[in-house]
């Protein structure tokens, strides 16, 4: 680490390593944990390119398809025999490389532009700090360094790429950008998958990530619970690296890899976001005097308490209140899709001997309600099963509409399975009270005004699949990607305005939707 001070300009791009999850970071983390803990800003100016680890590192990322990594071995080569190629040739070559890369994906992951390093290295060998201010940190911990020498070419290329789909500034453009944000960027970053994962990612997280990605764990609560359980194992297996403390290293560096991996599996749910925030706070509040073992034990215990209080007991409480207050004899309960907690409440009510009727409303493309229906029918609850279209017809005789939620916004809007808004607004128009059951861990401090921008994109292929036959064959829409100007979009959630909701039941009791923010203030998950 001594040669860190004898620095080269090239390394500005290498300093991206610590905060981002690319494989480049791994040797740095294993070989030299100390610099890794520093905030990246501090690192950048004086960080170095240590020559010895590099040849070992070079070939490994080179195997990957990711364009950003192709650049690295080349750079390494250049670092060793810098004077072999003329600067001009080098620059030309890199420029071509970069153009190809940009055409591949608009996602700016591969941004470190090494093409300029050649000339710079020869000219401004000593004046590395001079161009460092030009480097910018981009979201997601990826550092994009823009060198002042040749900005025109970079900009020109970017403009070129953006301009190509000329009409895409409308709704289609927005959707496409969302898809790029949510899916293609992940693919480009290649974080997901066992082969691409950061070496620090714990096997429990790898498994969980796969389960989440494949929708084995789909529900918001289930994912949250899975995360906490995996976290217990992660913490159990964690050892603090030398010259570091658990309270600083664990949340700041180690956990971020795990979380980044889970994020790559699927966009984070509010419940999980809240839980992660809670976990980080809890870790930072641990007394620094505790030994590692004691700290880990305490953390595990706290996680257990969290699971019990925020999830298990909260569910029990909610189920209890719902059954006691809202599922009486001769009630007609309308529900939409499948919510774990609604299902529990209905089954519990039946177990207590209530006779009531459930109307399960369902909708393409997911048709989750069929699942719920099977469970209810087997529990000898009389049911009605209808599509979202027949809503008006079914909701008339209902006494209550009981809905689950994915998250509840700070303004009381309910963020739930797409289609919930239609059910809730219809119920309001028909004068049927809408009750949402939801643990307070799902309360979000954000407000979504719109169902599009912060929403999670579903798989459009689900729409292509036909639902009215057993074969689940692909319908006439198959091949839409090859047809120009055609786009198929599907979102997982939508936002139900708070004025459609009569009440929210959480473990704290009954709430008017508008008072969610006060729970947020007081409970401070």
């Amino acid at each position: 680490m001594a040669d860190k001070k004898t620095t080269l300009a090239v390394s500005a791009s290498l300093s991206t390593a610590p905060p981002n999850p690319q494989p480049t970071a791994s040797p740095a983390a294993t070989l030299a944990p100390t610099p890794v803990q520093r905030p990246p800003k501090e690192l950048k100016p004086k960080d170095s390119k240590p020559k010895d680890p590099k040849p070992a590192r070079g070939p490994k990322p080179a195997k990957d398809a990711k364009p950003a990594k192709d650049a690295k071995p080349a750079k390494d080569a250049k670092a060793t025999d810098s004077s072999k190629l003329t600067a001009k040739q080098l620059k030309e070559q890199k420029k071509a490389e970069k153009a190809a890369r940009r055409a591949d994906t608009k996602a700016a992951t591969g941004a470190p532009p090494p093409q300029q390093t050649g000339p710079q290295r020869s000219e401004k060998h000593a004046s590395s700090p001079a161009h460092v201010p030009a480097s910018a940190i981009v979201g997601g911990g990826i550092v994009k360094t823009i060198y002042p020498t040749n900005p025109a070419t970079v900009v020109a290329k970017e403009v070129e790429v953006v301009v190509a789909p000329a009409r895409d500034n409308g709704l289609v453009g927005l959707l496409r950008d969302l898809a790029v944000d949510q899916q293609d960027k992940k693919k480009a970053a290649a974080v997901f998958g066992i082969g691409n994962a950061h070496p620090d990612v714990h096997p429990a997280i790898l498994t969980l990530g796969m389960q989440i990605n494949q929708y084995v764990l789909a529900g918001s609560t289930a994912r949250c619970l899975g995360f906490l359980l995996a976290m217990k194992r992660v913490i159990h297996d964690y050892t603090t690296p030398p010259a570091s403390t658990l309270t600083r290293h664990l949340p700041g560096h180690y956990l971020s890899h795990q979380i980044a991996y889970l994020l790559a599996a699927r966009p984070m749910s509010t419940a999980m976001g809240n839980t992660i925030r809670w976990l980080k706070t809890t870790i930072s509040e641990l007394s620094p005097d505790l030994s590692d073992e004691a700290a880990k034990e305490e953390l595990t215990a706290k996680i257990d308490v969290f699971i019990r209080e925020k999830i298990a007991l909260a569910d029990d409480l909610i189920v209890n209140t719902t059954v006691a207050r809202y599922i009486k004899d001769d009630a007609v309960i309308v529900t939409y899709g499948k919510s774990q907690i609604v299902e529990r409440a209905l089954l519990e009510a039946r177990r207590r001997g209530r006779r009531f009727r459930v109307v399960v409303i369902d909708s393409r493309p997911l048709l989750e309600g069929a699942n719920l229906l099977a469970g209810l029918a087997q529990a000898d609850i009389s049911c009605e099963y209808a599509c979202l279209d027949a809503l008006e017809y079914c909701i008339g005789p209902a006494t209550t509409v009981l809905l689950g939620a994915h998250a509840i916004m700070a303004d009381g809007g309910v963020y739930s399975r797409a289609g919930t808004a239609a059910v809730a607004s219809c119920a309001r128009d028909m004068g049927v009270p809408v009750v949402v059951v939801c643990e307070s861990v799902k309360f979000s401090d954000k407000i979504n005004l719109d169902g599009i921008v912060f929403n999670e994109l579903g798989d459009p292929e689900l729409l292509v699949t036909m639902s009215d036959s057993n074969k689940r064959e692909r319908g006439p829409l198959s091949g839409w990607r090859d047809v120009e100007n055609t786009y198929v979009a599907s979102f997982r959630y939508d936002v139900t305005p708070s004025d459609c909701i009569k009440m929210i039941i959480c473990e704290h009791g009954y709430l008017a939707p508008k008072s969610v923010s006060s729970i947020l203030r007081t409970s401070a998950v």
């Binding site: 069929a370 008006e392 719109d450 639902s467 319908g475 599907s490």
Partner: protein, 414 residues
């Protein structure tokens, strides 16, 4: 009998028109058509309207009548039988009204307007409905069945109707067209009817059929007024009227269409139409035009599921809907699922435009909406899930009733 068998195998309007062409027979064809309506072989407003008009065209040309009154009685009796076959298919009744209107018009043109009025007092009333449904809607709440009884009874009873429904417009029009000629004796007149009126009536009915055929085209004339550049239009399914309108607009405008795939009854068709994979069977498509898709004309199409309507509604400028029938007060019967769309549109303040041919406008209002809602088969469950069926009801309505308050404006071919 052979035709009936054919009808079962290849049902539809095409079959019916072929039957009329080849083996028309007054009594038999009416029975056959009643059966076709009952079996839903011919359903939806446009095919039913065309089928009915064609039937009347042939019936009238085959029917030997002595007086206008006799002819109108005949038409009404047929109409009663047809609409009893399937009262929900109101375009059958609308077509009968139009035919009676045509008869009246021709009678007036031949100087027998007064006679016509004497014969059936309720007909001017209906005629007025044809042309200005809005102005008469308050008086029009009685379905036509009541007025039919008046044909039989005549005299005193019809005069009551005349008092109630005395339409000033029709009086002035009849007065202006020809002066009343009451002095002509009956037998002479009935002879002349045979010669003068029939060709004119038949020609008018042919014009009516042409109007039906071209109604979608005529509606699409309004495209430029409805759709503007850079707009985002949401439609439910892609009914052919809306599709024609979009086609027309695509010639000059640049816009995006959000297509909601629709209920399980129609989503497959929607997908097919969006991908332009529909076979030009000539059912109700103009073959020359369908081959080029909207996408090829530079229109971007986004297909979404019904559940995503609320997500998209905030970004949409206009909702274009097709419909089955429109009542006199502006209420609609539309394919199931439309209600969710208009509700979302209302919540987001998006204007709703209904695109429909004038043959779907019905001069009646309704107070009991459930009577119009027809139930379909439960597409959501398979027989393999039969173990569920004991405990589970699976309602599957085909029609939504939409009150007038949800609709912003109508576009028709008139």
């Amino acid at each position: 009998m052979s035709t009936q068998l054919v009808g079962i195998h290849t049902p539809g309007l095409k079959w019916w028109l072929k039957h009329l062409e080849n083996d028309f027979d007054s009594a038999h064809s009416v029975d056959l058509y009643i059966g076709a309506l009952k079996r839903r072989v011919i359903r939806n407003p446009t095919p039913a309207a065309v089928g009915t008009a064609e039937l009347f065209l042939r019936l009238i040309s085959a029917y030997r009548f002595q007086s206008i009154r006799q002819l109108v009685d005949y038409v009404s009796s047929i109409e009663t039988r047809l609409s009893a076959a399937r009262p929900q298919e109101m375009s059958v009744r609308n077509m009968a009204r139009r035919v009676v209107g045509i008869i009246r018009e021709e009678a007036e043109n031949n100087g027998m307007g007064d006679l016509f009025q004497q014969a059936l007092q309720s007909k001017p009333f209906e005629k007025a409905l044809q042309h200005e449904p809005a102005s008469v809607k308050n008086k029009s709440q009685r379905p036509i069945l009541l007025t039919q009884s008046s044909f039989a009874v005549g005299g005193a009873l019809t005069s009551i109707f005349e008092i109630i429904s005395h339409p000033p417009s029709s009086i002035t029009s009849s007065a202006s067209s020809t002066p009343p000629q009451t002095g002509i004796s009956r037998p002479a007149q009935s002879q002349s009817i045979q010669h003068d009126v029939r060709p004119a009536i038949i020609q008018d009915i042919q014009e009516l059929i042409e109007e039906l055929d071209s109604s979608e085209h005529n509606i699409s004339e309004y495209a430029m007024q409805v759709i503007h550049n850079n707009e985002i239009i949401l439609t439910y399914g892609l009914p052919s009227t809306v599709k024609k309108l979009l086609f027309r607009a695509a010639q000059k405008r640049d816009f995006t269409v959000v297509v909601v795939e629709g209920s399980l009854n129609i989503y497959r068709k929607t997908h097919t139409v969006v991908m332009n994979k529909d076979t030009p069977s000539g059912e109700d498509e103009d073959q020359s035009e369908v081959h080029k898709s909207l996408q090829e004309r530079g229109i971007q199409i986004i297909v979404i599921s019904n559940s995503d309507v609320w997500n998209f509604m905030g970004r949409v400028n206009k909702v274009l809907l097709g419909t089955e029938y429109v009542f006199a007060d502006g209420g609609l019967l539309a394919p199931v699922g439309t209600k969710n769309i208009v509700r979302a549109a209302k919540a987001r303040g998006t204007p709703v435009v209904v695109v429909t041919g004038s043959h779907t406008l019905c001069p009646i209002t309704t107070f009991f909406e459930e009577q119009w809602i027809e139930m379909g088969d439960p597409k959501t469950l398979d027989f393999q899930e039969g173990y569920l069926l004991e405990n589970v009801d699976v309602p599957s309505p085909m029609i939504d009733f939409i009150p007038a308050s949800y609709v912003g404006s109508f576009v028709t071919n008139k």
